[in-house]
Subunit: 235 residues, 2 copies
Amino acid sequence: MSIPFYGLKEKDLNLIYLSSIESMHCIKVLRHKIGDKIKVLDGMGHIYECEILDDNYNSCTVKIIKSDFIEKNKFNIHIAVAPPKSTDRLDWLVEKIVEMGAYKLTFIKTRRSIRKKVKIERLKKIAISSMKQSFNPYKIIIEDMIAYKDFILGVKEKQCVIPHIVDKKRLFISKALESDVNTCAIIGPEGDFTVDEVNLAVDNNFKTVSLGNRRLRTETAVISTIGAFNFINGF
Amino acid sequence: MSIPFYGLKEKDLNLIYLSSIESMHCIKVLRHKIGDKIKVLDGMGHIYECEILDDNYNSCTVKIIKSDFIEKNKFNIHIAVAPPKSTDRLDWLVEKIVEMGAYKLTFIKTRRSIRKKVKIERLKKIAISSMKQSFNPYKIIIEDMIAYKDFILGVKEKQCVIPHIVDKKRLFISKALESDVNTCAIIGPEGDFTVDEVNLAVDNNFKTVSLGNRRLRTETAVISTIGAFNFINGF
């Protein structure tokens, strides 16, 4: 159950040059030596079994000895979320979204959002770490903060849902979600969406859904929604 | 969306005496005064609307002016889990289990468990805080660490599942779980169960299930399992 590394295969060569961070972790922290076998993910579906050729801790070179390819899920879930105020909860949210296998993550700025900015590069690092930890062969796409309205008007997915607690006219998510279709779910901040925000989403093809009768924190609502999508699609 | 307090109604009286911790929070932190309205949960299904009679910050007294009762879900999920090593992850796990609405939580000691003890009183406080935050009207039962074998041999629920990644003979959880039946799910430590542990569970009426093709951390596996139970039962 060793954790794989992340790296890209060189074009026309059977080699991977690990980045300085990955090399440091491989050689200094885990004390791998020339000849040791490691696994490397490229975030594009490949799982490589590799042998270390050069154990330089700044740029470790490995040779690919076996290559597996995992097909993408046929249908994806894209999560748009108002990031929680707490940095710990935000980090954790990104980790879990990757673990649960979402395809894309976009941060949105809503009326009641407290956090107006995210450190996107930092979160991308957390996402890669979680990708390796969970052996998820696909790297998530993370998009920087966008205004709520712009997001709603530009959404591409065929099935869109907005879990919220603004009013009572909501279908329970297990009744609302259809399988076998690309899905976007938009999750509000602490304090939820405003009525106007929910109405704008409904006018733009979003189904309003309920995740049950408890008040979920933002990060719990996200996990619960991806879980429902996975459940219904068998992922 | 104010967060309720936790307290028990006095027998034959329409009063609640808040504990010193709750009183301190109500009067000192949130600066409530005599005559202010607050909500109080008793963890047994009641949601009380109350008026503050005495704003003593060590023992605040409130009068019940309205009482709602929320019926229990007809079917429950009991989670038995090998606690994660990291205290942060353990705290977070308890918070999320309560948010997702599980009925009971038992800690188990497995072959590959790193953490052999939990501070049960501390976790009970986190559970109450999460109960209030998520407006869950029922207090979770938390049981102290028990050996894996003893737990398996004593389990009471009719439907038992063991998500794991030991071998390939597992049904995806959406195919394995039946609705409308009390359920127990047992979740292994980082490094998973041993083959012997899985076999013992199977011999004792546990179905082996898969949560998808990613390696989930302990806390993610727990949330994913409760999510599946809620999904199938419409909770």
